[in-house]
Structure formats: C-alpha cells, structure tokens
Amino acid sequence: MRIGVFICHCGSNIAATVDVPEVAAAARRMPEVVYASDNMYSCSEPGQQAIVEAIQAHNLGGVVVASCSPRMHEPTFRKAVERAGLNRYLFEMANIREHVAWVGKHKRANTAKATELVLMAVEKLRLNRTLAPRKIPATRKVLVVGGGVAGIQAALDCAEGGLSVVLVEREPSIGGKMSKLDKTFPTIDCSSCVLGPKMVEVAQHEHIDLHAYSEIVSVTGYVGNFAVTIRKKAAYVDWEKCTGCGLCMERCPSLKAHDRFNEGIGATTAINIPFPQAIPKKATISAAHCIRLKTGKCGACAKACPSGAIDYEDQDREFTVTVGAVVAATGYDLTDWKVYGEYGAGRYPDVITALQYERLLTASGPTQGRIKRPSDGKEPKTVVFIQCVGSRDPSVGRPYCSGFCCMYTAKQAIQTKEHLPDSQSYVFYLDIRAPGKGYDEFTRRAQEEYGAAYVRGRVSMLYPIKTPDGEKLLVRGADTLAGSQVEVEADLVVLAVGAGAAEHAPRLAEKLRIPYDAHGFFLEGHPTLKPIETNTAGVYLAGACQGLKDIPASVAQGSGAAAKVLGLLSRGELESDPQTAGVNLTRCTGCGKCIDICPYGAVQELEVRGKPKAGVIEAVCQGCGLCTATCPQGAIQLSHCTDNQILAEVEALCRC
C-alpha cells in the first residue's frame, strides 16, 4: 500500500503543543509511507484539495489524517478520499487534538505521542480492506417521545411532511408544562388558547398515532428500523368507550387523590380527567386512591359511566412498533426545592412553586383563577418572588441557569398586579437574564408599569409570624445594591424553582443509547453545530430535554427535529455502515456465544451443511465488537477492526 499521511495544525490548536512538521518528518520514515505533509487546516477546502491532489500525484492507496476526533471530521475526510477515487475505508484517523494537544502541555512528550498515534494508524491502515456500504430500506415512520409543546410541534411537522408519527406521552394528556401555564411571556398570550388548537390537531391528524399514559419499554434496532416496545399503562377505563363526559368524577367518593396536573394545589378524585382541554380527554383511575381497587368495595364510577367504559380488571399492555427515527422531547421537571431549609423545606403551606402559582392564576384552575393562598384561602396583598431556587447554586449540585425563570417571574409579577390591583410584589433576584427579543423590555415593564419591587440579593431565611393583619411570612434577605438588610412581611411566597431533566430521563437515554450529562439532559451531537442530532444515528432532540429553553425555542427545535427526520427518511432507504462483524464459517463451532452476547440481536444461528453456524445480519450489526471479544476461536471479526489490526497497533506501540 502506498500510504499518504497528513498532519493538521488545526490553526494553533494542535501546533501550539505539538511539533507538527516533526511528526510529518517521522511519518515519512514509517512503513509504506510514501508521502507526508503538514497542513494548517486539513478540513478546509484547500486542506481537502491537498489530500485529493496528493492521492492523484503520488498514486496513494491509503490515507492517514492526524487531526481532531473522528467524531468531528471522519466523514469529511472519507468523502475527500472518495473524491480522489479511493475507497473511503482506505482511510484512518489519528486524534492528536483531543487525545494529545488538548490534554498535555509538554511539547516534546506531545510530539512523541502524536508520532506514536500516527504509527498505530499507519499499521492499522496497512491491513484495511475496501468496504462497500449497502442500501437498506427505512421505515417512513417516526417515534416522538414526550407530548410537550416541543414534541407536539415535531409530531405535527413530521405528519404534515407525510410521515406516520407515533407520539408517546407518559401522562394521561399531552400538553406538557405549557398546558399548566396561565399566560405566556413575552406577549401574555393565553397559554391554552395558543396550545389548545395544536393539541386538537394532534388528536385529529390522520398520520398521528397518539399513545398517552404510555412509556417506552425498550428500543432495539438501528437508524431506519428501530423496534420500539411501548407500554400502555392500565387506566382502568376503556379509552375506546370513554367519551370524557366526566360523570364518573362527580360520583367518585375518593376525594383526596394527589392532583398531579394542578401540581398538588387542592386534591382530586381517584378517577380523573386532568383538565377540560385534555387530549385525549379520557378518564384515568389512580390505583393508589381507588377504593374499589384497594378494597373491592365501591364501584360508583362504573355505575355512573353511561358508556360502560370502566374496567377494574384493566392491565398494562405492551406492543411493538417499527420506526425509522426517534425524536426525544421529554422536557424537564422541577427540581426538589425542599433541600432548602431556609425556605422552610416544604413546611409552610404559603410557600409555593411558580408552577403551582400558574395553576392559581389560571381561570380553569383549581381556584377558578382567583389568587388564594393555600393556608386560609385569603387573597394575598404582598407577594414575594424568590428567583434562582435550585438554579446557579453549586451547593445543591445545580450550577446552571434554568433560563426561563427571570422571564416567567416578571410575567407572574405583572399578572399579580392585574389580578390584585392593590397588591405589591417583591422579586429577589441574582441577575436579570432576559436576552430574547422584547424580553428585557418585558422585565422593565414589570418594574416600571406594574410596580414590582426588584431586590438584588438572596433570601437568607423566612419564617411564619403573627401580625395584627393575620399570619404572614417574614422574608429576610440582603439588598446587595443598597448594601442593606431587607425584611418583607409576605402573605404568599412564590419560588422560581429551577428545572432539571425529566424524571428518569437517563433511563430513556440508556434505552435510546444516547449520552446524557450529569444533570440528565440529553447530549446533542455537537454543542454549536449539531444541537438537534445526537451521536446515535436516527435519534434527534427537541425542547427542554436537551437543555432548558423557553417555549419559542422549544417549538423551533421541535420543527428543526422534524426537518432532520424528514430529510433522513425522505428517500425511503439508507446506506448501511459496512463496518460490521462477519463470521469465518470454517472456524465457527456454532456455540452461539456471539448470539447471546450481541446487544443488538444482530447474530443469528444458521445451518451450514447440517452444522450450526453463526451469521451476522449486517444491517443490524452496529460494529460494537462484543462478539469478537467473546468468540474463543476468533471466528467472528469486525471488518474494519480485526484482531490482526489491533495486534498491529499494539505491536507498533510496543516498538516505539
């Protein structure tokens, strides 16, 4: 093989701590290397052109590029090599940026290590074979997990683009957090008036198959053909029959069920339709509160239901669908604010979360839109908002900014004034972060037009006090601008509780095989250039599950994910990666160890001349290499990472 080696400076990224020309000089002495050069930016147009020209001028049969991570530019260089007429798999990459330049400062040692990595790549390349991708049919159907506003937008756009959509929502209704909001910033639109029509469209769209109160059990397969097992949780109500009339709720004698939709403001019945605009508008029985399910006695709802939909024997049901792509849109959940002793750790009923406050503001909410404090139902005169509760606080493991709290706090201060004209709001904040279009103006309006008093500083403690006007909460904090202590006697305290990833998001990530960060947010393919893709082909992200964002940004990302899916599945077929495992039949004893170990179910038992043998389904194989490490005979090998290639790399290292 006539090998060409290209060492990249990456501007100063690599060149600052690696002697790039020296690595190129060392490469010229490596086996079968006939050409080596160093380039400022190998990935740039002239950089790629240099590779193409060198291949043609020196009749190269294989190429090594030493630069950044293959995650970044392997596809770029493979295409360049192919443009010059070489098979794109006669190419190897050595990562001397992330693995060398960015992790070591010592130039001599870095140069030596970079040289070793290049030698390993050369030795591996010498054993590379040409490989050819194959066309595989792709299922023109997409799974959207999470029916918040981001998931709804993704589902609608995909369906409009002609794809079938399976939308899975864990709650009994879609809508997500937006369906719990009263108004939305910065326009103070009525939340359900703008979201409602979209939800109805989901229910009515012929291409959307909605599964509420369901969850993902497992995901197997690969881009183009994922097999997804979905569990529909037992609702104890036959949703085919339920018309959503709500008569059952009127009769249910179990009145103390936790009201999930209303964030625990008030209680609800064991059988419940979460809110009037719910989609689907179907009743669900909470088994933990249903008297009939707990004791066998009652059955009031079954008697009340005019359509005979109640089914106390209902059970979870599992079914499997095949989809070509997945959009994860699982949003966020509020973090546990009860870790804060200084805010009462949940002991004081009149300290509530901002999401609970949204429910108090909503006309269709548990108080019909009248602001009543939970302890005694009185209208508050003084409302204190505390921002950054569980945000920007490394001491509770939440170092990040939740992004939307500054804005919704301003919104809630405005609405408080609108609901209660003679009230006074105080907002304790650290910084006001309002960088969106019209956002800064919005927070100013809250102060200037609506008279909210903004105090810059943290609240150090609050506790209940008795005053001539009744029971109040004494809020004590610092005003860091005035350099003084502040005390406010509040009737109601609203905490802008920070958000974290949705409950159990990491579990879903494990099933989807997508990475997630320390806080459970799903990792995008690249923070600047691939904010929608993940590192798993065919899985995309939309909304707050990728990083906290407000509704406009969630909707935009939902549409973005839909565009990605439509692009991916537009041709109805995909190219399979030929870097898969293959079986040497003469070696294989047919023991089946590879069949059991393969996480993707890519190996099957074949019969060859009466003997059992293993066979790899190339389209399913992900090239993980577990089987090759398991087969004692070395009978199953990865086409692009054979034992011999690994040995050649190790040998190269040992020689250095």
Binding site: P506, E510, D596, T630, Q633, N644
Partner: protein, 328 residues
C-alpha cells in the same frame, strides 16, 4: 468392591443403547489409570480394574464429548466431571440428549504430582514402571518402588480440589450408583488464591514469571481442558489472527496462559485437568480459580451447575445486578 460392581451393572444396562461408554481402566502401570472406551460387554470387565479403584479415576471423561458429537455416549462421571458435562450442554457444545450419564459419589482422587514430590523426598524417581505394586487400604496407600515399600496417608496425596469440592456427587445423571455423599458442610475458602494475593504485585509477577518460564508449550493444559473446544483454531496456534509468536519467551507463554484463563472465565468448572496434565506441574489452576472466584462474587454464578443457566460473560445485559453504574 460394591461400588465398582454397581457401576458395572449400570454400564451393562446402558451399553446396548449407546455407541460406547467412557470410564476408567488400568493404565500402563499399577499407579496410573487411563480412560476406557467400552463398546462391548467384555470391555466392561476392565472398568476400574486397577488397584486404585475410583481413587485412580483422575481423568475427566467429559473431555471427549465435543469430539464425539452426533454419537450417543454413555459417560461415567465424578462430581467434577459432571459439572463439565453440564457446562458443555449449557454452552451448546454438546447435546444433553446424546449423553447417558452414570454418576457416583466421588471420595477424591490421587494427585500424581504430589505423590511424585513425596517419592522424590525418598530419592525415588517416579518413572513409568518404576512403581511395581500399589495397595490402597483404608486411609493409606502403600506402594513399592525399587524393591522398597512406602506408605502415604491418603489425605496427603489427594488432589487439592477434592477436600474443597462442593459437588462430590454427580450434579446431573441418568442413573446414580452408591449413596450420595454429604457435602453441604463443605466450603471453598479460596485460601490458595488469598495466599497468592497477599504477595506484593512485584512478587506475584515474579512468581508467575518463574513458573511460566518452565512452560514447554506442549499445550497439554489446553488439550486436557474439557471446555477448550477450539482445537484447530486455538489462539495459541492460529496465524490469523497472529496472537502469539513462536518465540520461546516467557512473555508469549504467559500470554497463552492468560488467553486460556480469559477464555475460561465464567466457564471453568475448576476440574483441574489443566494443572493435572501439565508435565511441569505449573499451578495454572490458580489463574483460573481466581477468575472463577471473581465471577462467583460478581454474578453469583458457578459454571457447570445448570444446563439452562446462561454463563454471565456470554450474555449481554444492560443492567447487571451487582454492578451499579447508575443510581437506580
């Protein structure tokens, strides 16, 4: 000898339905037994006919099964041998229905390496034919070499695996001769491994370097292992992939032993055939037992007890019960 007679009766009953029954017969001298392939009733007379009786039934007859796939085989097994049969079946390397298993309660077997060391202490070199008479009586073994008689306690020349054996009775059998031995009070404390681990890392490495430097690459350990089934495609001999060089270096020999160990991780039943077969007496079983212990601790799995169990290292699970990668 009651046990021998009972077993012979069973073998004769099984024989018409199988191609052959494998057991043990007399070897080339009084001290050695050898595998016996019985095809006709008259062959059965030679079963356990040596002076050591079942105490000489050292070889693991399960070794022959994978090669004989497709034939119907009767197999006389000790407890340890039966675990090899179970493991082979669990791994699909043999078909359970092709084997008729005749089990018996094993009282332990002789360790010829130990005996050789004992004789060496008396300046007797145990060469083939060197021992002219053997007599096993109760707890003692008397043997004659160079015209002189030596007596050893049975316990002292028993294989190490036997006193710690938790399954002296065949764990699987189609017929069973004799009365099952109680073994629920026996535990394996892995003291041999613990002793090794008390050595510093450097000392341990030196120990293995020294031991492996004696290896002559005869591959008897591999050939004797009933679960080493690659045969013509052994990593030790394969040139593609070219794992090992032909160089006579300790590094390559150790590498081979480690490959063997890793290929047996979670599969090795601890039958000890590898160590028994080694002509140099290299304690290779230590390596295998060390991984066996790790697998037992981590996966609550011991190889060769259940034909339906999936060996933990040969399956893929997203979550392992005892390996907590995440908080849930």
């Amino acid at each position: 000898m009651a046990l021998r007679e009972q077993l012979k009766k069973m073998i004769l009953e099984v024989l018409p339905g199988v191609d052959c029954v494998i057991g043990w017969g007399a070897g080339y001298d009084a001290l050695h037994a050898a595998p016996l392939f019985m095809r006709a009733p008259e062959d059965v007379e030679r079963f356990l006919s040596g002076p050591l009786g079942a105490f000489g039934a050292v070889q693991n007859p399960a070794l022959f099964l994978p090669e004989l796939a497709g034939k119907k085989i009767g197999l006389v097994v000790k407890g340890c041998d039966s675990r090899s049969v179970v493991q082979l079946a669990a791994e699909n390397l043999i078909k359970r229905e092709e084997v008729v298993i005749i089990g018996f309660p094993c009282e332990g077997v002789i360790d010829l390496h130990k005996l050789r060391n004992k004789l060496a202490a008396h300046f007797v070199v145990n060469e083939p034919g060197g021992v002219t008479a053997v007599n096993l009586a109760g707890d003692h073994l008397a043997l004659t070499a160079g015209g002189q008689e030596y007596t050893f306690k049975r316990d002292e020349i028993m294989a190490d695996k036997c006193p710690r054996c938790r399954e002296p009775n065949a764990v699987i059998s189609d017929c069973f001769a004799g009365i099952e031995r109680r073994a629920d009070n026996i535990a394996d404390d892995y003291e041999d491994i613990a002793a090794l681990e008390r050595m510093s890392l450097e000392d341990r490495f030196r120990f293995w370097e020294q031991e492996m430097s004696r290896c002559v690459r005869c591959y008897a350990c591999r050939n004797a292992c009933p679960l080493c089934v690659c045969r013509d495609h052994c990593a030790g001999a394969s040139r593609d992939p070219h794992w090992l060089t032909q160089a006579d270096s300790t590094r390559d020999k150790f590498m081979f032993q480690l490959i063997h160990t890793l290929h047996l991780a979670g599969r090795c039943t601890g039958c000890g055939e590898c160590q028994r077969a080694c002509p140099l007496g290299i304690p290779v079983l230590l390596l295998k037992r060390s991984l066996g212990r790790a697998v037992e601790e981590m996966f609550d799995y011991r190889a060769g007890l259940d034909t339906e169990a999936k060996p933990p290292l040969l399956t893929f699970r997203v979550e392992e019960r005892k390996i907590k990668e995440r908080e849930w």
